[in-house]
């Protein structure tokens, strides 16, 4: 039999159902792989070994009773990004500020996964407060890419991507504010799904930018992602921005058929300064869709060209407001030496936050100050309106849009990524999707000459998840999942 941890989440769930594997066996195999590989990759901040073992016994009982017969992932170990609250288990946001924070409640997604019999195996690394694209700003050290340890796994959900690629988890949850699920998925050769804003409850997700954040899965194939998405989606009275929809039977869209599907390719993306390997892989992917019967057409989407600027303003403004809650009083780091309340605030925050977090708070506060508000914040929000309308118009013509996920493959960890030109380019491909609240998925579409994975981004209209799943599934049939060749056993 194939190594347990190398199987897809769905395959393992089916084997557990068929009694070919027990939940305990699967959890033990997963913990063994984590112990073996974690020193190499540093995907996890917290490994919940004891809780997972206890949960395994409980879930096996529920499966034996027939209680979980309709749950697609019962008994499957799942890793959760460490900015999603887990009751009684540290949730750090990879920050010194929350290094010892233990939530008194579960996020709605955590609660839903537990109810469906998924096993929480650990909390995975990220950039501090999800601000970054490399995990390099994590207080707990950087994560390494399982395809090549000298390279970043991407970010901010870099622990989520590395854990799944290194087979230290079958599937994981990440969060996406400006590409933080899709980019790490692309860098690690995985599927990363960012749902329509409002599809998955944000209750218990420690906020970065509330109007942009969405939780979603990273997995080794689209079927695994569709399954877990079905479990975590749905209206939640605890999140006033969650949307009431009908059924979320995403698995029904796992159909190999893109005949006559209308696919738009924004020229703007092709004009970008793409790596040569990415360009040829992307053009190859377009040809694959055409060969499968889809109608692929280039079109102009120039109106989104200022997405990155608008994103910087809006996300930093919201972040500066959201992060005002860390005051050294109710939770989080408190400085040891202070004179009066004002100094307690300033020193606690000054010590607790890293450079990038402070940079964004400062920028956001500047943009929101009364004499700058109209020129920056409102200007950005007006541009956001244009971006949203532009996409709506595009979807009058096309079923889905295609773009490269990133103009480059995973950079070296030693690169000064924060100041590189590539960062800005990478964000153009990602942030406009969040500003318009659209669903998008990154799927593997090849490798560059260094052997690093390349991602293809599929963008859908609001609540158009099923078209994305169908297109991703069809493409996947031509290109089955490939694991990193370097994994130690």
């Amino acid at each position: 039999m194939k190594e347990i941890t190398a199987m897809s989440a769905m395959t393992v769930a089916e084997k557990i159902k068929a009694k070919e594997l027990s939940v305990q066996e699967v959890v033990e195999a997963q913990l063994k792989a984590i112990k073996l590989r974690e020193p190499l990759y540093n995907s996890y901040i917290t490994i919940t070994e004891n809780e997972a073992k206890e949960q395994a016994i409980k879930v096996q009982g529920q499966i034996d009773n027939g209680e979980l017969k309709d749950s697609p992932l019962a008994g499957v170990p799942v890793a959760i990004k460490d900015n999603i609250c887990t009751r009684g288990i540290k949730t750090t946001c990879a920050s010194k500020m929350l290094a010892d924070f233990v939530p008194a409640y579960d996020a709605t997604v955590t609660e839903r996964l537990k109810k469906s019999g998924a096993i929480l195996i650990g909390k995975v690394n990220l950039d501090e407060f999800a601000m970054g694209g490399t995990t390099k700003t994590s207080y707990f050290g950087e994560t390494k890419n399982p395809w090549n340890r000298d390279h970043t796994p991407g970010g901010s959900s870099g622990g989520s991507s590395a854990a799944v690629a290194a087979e230290e988890a079958f599937i994981s949850l990440g969060s996406d504010t400006g590409g933080s699920i899709r980019q790490p998925a692309a860098y690690c050769g995985l599927v990363g799904f960012k749902p329509t804003y409002g599809t998955v409850s944000r209750y218990g997700l420690i906020p970065l930018a509330s109007s942009l954040d969405q939780i979603g899965p990273l997995g080794r194939n689209i079927s695994d992602c569709a399954s877990i998405l079905e479990l975590i989606s749905g209206y939640d009275p605890k999140d006033s921005t969650s949307i009431k929809q009908g059924r979320y039977n995403y698995r029904s869209a796992l159909v190999d058929d893109v005949k006559n599907m209308k696919i738009g390719v924004p020229k703007l993306y092709l004009d970008e300064d793409l790596d040569e390997d990415i360009r040829s892989c992307f053009l190859g992917a377009l040809k694959t869709f055409e060969d499968m019967g889809a109608k692929v057409e280039l079109f102009d989407l120039d109106e989104i060209r200022h997405s990155v600027q608008a994103y910087y303003v809006i996300s930093c403004a919201e972040a500066s407001s959201n992060l005002s809650r860390y005051d050294g009083v109710r939770y989080g780091h408190r400085t040891g030496d202070y004179d009066g309340l004002d100094e307690l605030y300033k020193k606690s925050r000054g010590e607790g936050f890293g450079y990038e977090v402070k940079r964004r708070i400062m920028l956001g506060a500047y943009m929101l100050s009364s004499d700058k508000y109209e020129a920056y914040y409102n200007k950005a929000r007006r541009i956001r309106t244009i971006i949203s309308k532009t996409y709506d118009e595009a979807f009058n013509k096309y079923d889905i849009l295609l773009s490269p996920e990133s103009p480059n493959t995973a950079p070296l960890l030693s690169d000064d990524y924060s100041s590189s030109k590539n960062k800005q380019k990478s964000e153009i491909l990602n942030v406009s999707v969040n500003l318009a609240g659209l669903p998008a998925v990154s799927i593997p579409c090849g490798k560059d000459r260094k052997g690093l994975p390349i991602g293809l981004q599929l963008i859908g209209k609001k609540f158009g998840e099923k078209a994305l799943i169908q297109a991703a599934y069809s493409f996947e049939q031509t290109r089955p999942y490939e694991r990193p060749g370097t994994l130690v056993n």
């Binding site: 924070f101 233990v102 008194a104 409640y105 804003y197 409002g198 109007s211 009275p237 006033s240 921005t241 949307i243 200022h306 600027q309 608008a310 910087y312 303003v313 500066s320 005002s324 005051d327 050294g328 009083v329 109710r330 939770y331 989080g332 780091h333 408190r334 009066g340 309340l341 004002d342 307690l344 300033k346 020193k347 925050r349 000054g350 010590e351 936050f353 450079y355 402070k358 940079r359 708070i361 400062m362 920028l363 506060a365 500047y366 100050s369 920056y376 409102n378 200007k379 950005a380 929000r381 007006r382 541009i383 956001r384 309106t385 244009i386 949203s388 800005q424 318009a436 609240g437 609001k462």
Partner: protein, 96 residues
């Protein structure tokens, strides 16, 4: 330079952040660089556009006022750096 040392201090004071000296210099440079980039958005005419807050048209959500989650507050104090029974402890705010 849009953000001078003085305006940097004002903002830092407003958002309650302390900085090391070398951090300040780097950040002032960084912020000005970013603001300069952001201003390139000004070439887009947005006069007829309304500012967007959320992508869905949010309406107030009402429900019956039924008490629930009675235990929601429990355990929250355990994360406080300093607390006493049900209270958070802070340094004195009023002085003689």
């Amino acid at each position: 330079m849009k953000i001078s040392k003085e305006s940097f201090h004002n903002i830092a004071d407003m958002v309650k952040l302390s900085f090391k000296e070398e951090e300040k210099l780097k950040l002032i440079k960084d912020l000005n660089h970013t603001v300069e980039f952001i201003e390139t958005m000004n070439d887009m005419n947005t006069d007829s556009q309304e500012p967007m807050s959320y992508i869905h048209n949010l309406k107030n959500v009402f429900r019956e006022d039924v008490a629930s989650n009675a235990k929601a507050g429990q355990g929250l104090h355990e994360n406080a750096p300093e607390s006493m029974s049900d209270y958070y402890v802070v340094p004195p705010i009023f002085h003689d």
